[in-house]
Amino acid sequence: MYYLGLLIEYLKNYMKTRLTYRADFWVEVISDLLFQATNFIFILVIFMHTDSLGGWNQNEVVFVYGFFMVPFGVFSCFVNMWGFSERYIVKGEMDRILTRPAHNLFQIFLENVDPPSLFGSIIGLTIMAISGSNLGLPFEWWTIPMLIILTLSAVAIYTGIYTTLTSLSFYSDAPTGILPLMYNIQTYGRYPVTIYNRAIQVLLTWIIPFAFVGIYPAALFLHRDEMRTMALLTPVVGAVFLGIGLTAWSYGVKKYKGAGS
């Protein structure tokens, strides 16, 4: 309850800061959408030159992309660790966070909420609806509940991975260049992982499990039975990686010694 109240207060605050830079708000929404559009263009360009990608046709790949956008939008809205090291460690704002009663990680999430990202989720749902109806996918009783569960699991996976990586900045004082590169890799989880060789498949499934935020869960809705087990594993992977992230974080915070002033 207390945390919900905080969330609302922070959102109000967010609106106030945002209204100061009104033009920028729209620039950001448009740039987010453009980011999605460019990936979309990549898929369209690929299918101008081929009929199938590892046995998946254009509508299926587009559908997977639509699903991928939904949890990614939610994640970007509530968990934004971009620039954590510069802002909180180098500039010493972590000290301020730690002196407050609410959980430190939660405060950091709140201070960086980014509601425009949710536009991406809405567009993702639209893409799923369009390509789903092109494919004639049946709408089952479990479609909506499963969508919610899988979305939340995928968000947990993202949060786990990025929290783990961000907590590295407690140990080394390097401004981590890893996060932007990770953003490149996560998009590969959208493509049918079976096209990659064994090592990359294992990497995308078990080590940095980005296949669980795109292709595996989406396969469930596409009735791709060969991936059903993996799809149903998504919540487990989510729980495990979120656990790793939170553990790494709390170890890191214990190690933290103030820097800067």
């Binding site: 620039v27 448009i30 460019t38 101008m48 030159h49 390097a174 590169l181 890799i185 060789n197």
Partner: protein, 264 residues
């Protein structure tokens, strides 16, 4: 005077050297990027012989070379400049006896040299060992490529500087920086070679500067462009370098008139 600028290259090089974690993870992630792209393209080719004028082998080389070139020319000058603008430290930099933009360029070059030696070369060796990359054997192709790579760096950094300086006019240019990153990766031909785009789009991209960053040098290096074509590519790069100087000079002067510090 010039010595001071060279010091900026040296200092940035040494600063980069201090962040070893970034360096090891960088090699790993660039190799992974090449690997994933290689397999994606392999799946796209399926049994096909050639796509948009690229044979399968050329595409592999193109992917490897493009990502490795990116390891060299990529930098965060846009973010550095907009941070300087937002926290107000740019005011101090403006009154120092040097040209702010030139200093940024030098720092970018220091970073680029670090990335060249520590990221690009070892990454290239790993890529050659793992994937069927075919590198040219003539010395002239290599010399040409190095010169073009340098222009890729200049053009990419110029675009970064323009994006960074725009923070003078839109206060918070986070959105623009993100947009720039995406546009450069896609339209430079890093993700999809420009010939594979639909005709209308590739004809638009041919009059934009982005192709000069990745696509043109990559085409030369994979052997798709040879002979006189190499000089054309170099010519296009030089022309874009000169054209992009205009908005930078203009922005820099306009910025000095407009400077207002938002805090700090």
């Amino acid at each position: 005077m010039l010595g001071a600028y060279f010091d900026f290259i040296r200092i940035r090089f040494l600063t980069m050297l201090a962040y070893r974690v970034n360096y090891y993870s960088g090699i790993l992630i660039y190799t992974l990027n090449i690997g994933v792209n290689y397999f994606t393209w392999k799946a796209i080719y399926g049994g096909g012989e050639s796509l948009g004028g690229f044979t399968g082998a050329q595409m592999t080389t193109y992917v490897a070379v493009s990502w490795m070139a990116r390891a060299f020319y990529f930098n965060n000058l846009d973010r550095e400049i907009s941070t300087d603008i937002r926290d107000g430290s740019i005011a101090i930099q403006f009154i120092r006896p040097y040209n702010y933009v030139l200093v940024k360029m030098m720092q970018g070059l220091g970073e680029g040299m670090f990335r060249f030696m520590m990221l690009m070369l070892p990454g290239m060796i790993i890529a050659i060992l793992l994937f069927p990359v075919q590198l040219p054997t003539e010395l002239s192709a290599w010399a040409g490529f190095l010169v073009m790579l340098f222009f890729s760096f200049l053009i990419s950094s110029q675009i970064n500087i323009i994006t960074g300086l725009s923070a003078f006019f839109v206060e918070n240019n986070e959105g623009m920086m993100r947009m720039k990153r995406v546009v450069v990766d896609l339209f430079s031909g890093l993700i999809v070679p420009i010939t594979l785009f639909p005709d209308w789009l590739s004809s638009v991209l041919k009059v934009l500067p982005f192709q000069a960053i990745t696509y043109l040098p990559g085409s030369v290096f994979t052997g798709r462009v040879q002979g006189v074509g190499i000089w054309n590519v170099l010519g296009i790069q030089v022309i874009w370098f000169l054209i992009l100087l205009v908005p930078i000079v203009w922005l820099y002067h306009a910025a000095r008139q407009r400077l207002f510090v938002q805090g700090g």
